[in-house]
Symmetry: C2
Subunit: 346 residues, 2 copies
């Protein structure tokens, strides 16, 4: 088996949801878009529903269908991209709640699915999804007459608590929703950590559930072990991998593991001088470039050739890999590859 | 439908194979690892078999099984990672040819699958996969007595024709294989372009088939169109997206498209000042950061709101996106996401 093992701790996932639920002065939902942040929407969704989540969020209607099949009837499934052309039958049959983003989407909704429930997404300043203030002012009475179960917006800078954008968006959201009866939602993980003023009626944690920053207290959800294909002795002066980017300064024991950028282990990691695997407590530096299917690792400090090496786990998490690759933990998670064997622990 | 459309031109793929076949002074195989470089191993494998390929290469035995199911009996399927512990039944039932990388793998092969065909992978200097010269010297007679259908190695710097590593690896490979009867293979796409001295008996093009560098004459295989969720007018001074990294200098029409780094559209692209989509012939700059499921684009130069925007196609290919993200076309291809609808043209 050259298949790497991605172990997903559903107990830790549920514990992270409960911890964020305790921090939320409101109902706590769960964001499971992008296939449950790459971990499998069916298993992740069921574990979160068991923990108590009743409001789920996905990016696309197609994802909502996959989640509905896993969860069955009952939990609410909200779709951030709203009602796209051609989505009516999907929204109806999977009982989804589109977050209506524009006048066009509202017209599409009432024309194709009259009487079907919908929510509203407002733009409070991020300029990415949702109705603008003027658009909302024109449609507000019509939309609210349909008793939407959620009116929401999204923060652009919630992972920087001191950023003035947070207060500006909060003010904008309050201005746009003042006096309405519908439940309101503004906060994802970062927004929960900003404090109760951001919580309103529903919070929508995503990354924190999966063990990523900005929720520093999250438990580790993901462990990734890559099998070793072979080990070799590399003499001083020899090079390793594409482009000869690494040269041995002394005799080095090198393990080649099965896994690479085709598995979402970003190639940019190979440029970081501190990128490493673990074997037990022993840190083992990555040598040279990350290939499509292979990574080479310095195992000189081990007493015998290892059978597998750990890239993600308690010793280093998704945010550490993200630092090496110049990105964020979210991208590490959602990139984790299709070739991995996924093992669920609960 | 917020699902993006990934169109894969199987005719262009087959034409690229034929073009590389004309350049090869030998039999031309095809590398279809990592799910056919992310494009679907079944469809890609069948199209290449129709074009005339008879020797296929995958990274892992599990990939070999998927390919065998698509191709049926006949074509050879070679596995670069060789014979890993637990692979025997898979190798036997799918009729795979493991490229044996080490003494350990050779012992595993002859113990668990006596008489089953295997090839040999040699390390000619990349120090990643394959037997070292001393190991090979000790095993050579035993291995060659089994009449391996292929003895191969891999070049570390073939995309840099002037790199002295190429000649060094060629010399090493010649030294290690001098006088043997078994067919030999050293060149992937880059090696084919280095010229006939590198071709031996079998070439193994990969990236060039899929339209990527270093095969500059490749036809475009991949087209990617992302649906527009909504468009909005952003006033001068307003910001867009996470971290407020982009500020409008003048009133700007902004489209939000469905697709992001969870679809393998690398987040690093968002830092490139020249990253863009296309609508027909009109180039449309990306604004701000790439989100998990969304990208924002300046559509001010269009006369009306577009329904979809093109990220990959004839106007810009995988190597252009790779430049923006500081990587190579290979990573762009193999990252292309699971949420896309894949449409095959032939």
């Amino acid at each position: 088996m050259s298949t790497a093992k991605l172990t997903i701790d559903l107990t830790a996932l549920a514990d992270n949801w409960r911890a964020l639920d305790r921090l939320s002065e409101s109902e706590t939902g769960a964001v499971v878009k992008a296939d449950g942040y790459g971990l499998g929407v069916a298993q992740v969704g069921k574990a979160l529903a068991m923990a108590g989540a009743r409001k789920f969020f996905v990016a696309q209607a197609e994802e909502g269908l996959a989640l509905r099949r896993a969860l069955g009837h009952g939990p609410e499934i909200n779709v951030f991209s709203g009602h796209m052309a051609g989505d009516a039958e999907l929204i109806r049959s999977a009982d989804l709640i589109p977050m209506i983003n524009s006048t066009d989407q509202l017209l599409r909704q009432v024309e194709t699915l009259p009487g079907h429930v919908f929510g509203i997404q407002l733009d409070s300043g991020m300029n990415r999804l949702g109705m603008e203030p003027a658009e909302w002012a024109a449609l507000r009475d019509i939309a609210l007459a349909q008793r939407p179960p959620l009116v929401m917006s999204h923060l652009a800078c919630a992972d920087e608590p001191e950023h003035p954008m947070n207060a500006a968006q909060l003010q904008s959201f309050c201005d746009m929703t003042q006096g309405i009866d519908a439940p309101r939602s503004l906060a994802a993980t970062g927004g929960i950590l900003l404090g109760p003023a951001y919580h309103f009626d529903v919070t929508r944690p995503g990354i924190g559930l999966y063990g990523g920053l900005p929720f520093a207290d999250a438990q580790t959800v993901v462990t990734l072990d890559l099998p070793v294909i072979q080990t070799r002795t590399v003499a001083a002066g020899e090079t390793i991998g594409y482009g000869n980017t690494w040269t041995a300064q002394a005799e080095t024991q090198v393990a080649t593991v099965s896994g690479g950028y085709a598995d979402g282990l970003l190639r940019a990691m190979g440029n970081a001088s501190d990128a490493a695997f673990y074997h037990g407590d022993i840190r083992l530096p990555i040598l040279g470039r990350v290939s499509m299917d292979l990574i080479t690792v310095d195992v000189s400090s081990l007493s015998e050739p290892p059978e597998s090496l750990r890239l993600l786990g308690d010793a280093q998490g998704v945010d550490t890999l993200a630092d090496w690759a110049g990105t964020i933990g979210y991208e590490i998670l959602t990139s984790l590859g299709a070739r991995f064997e996924r093992i669920y622990r609960s």
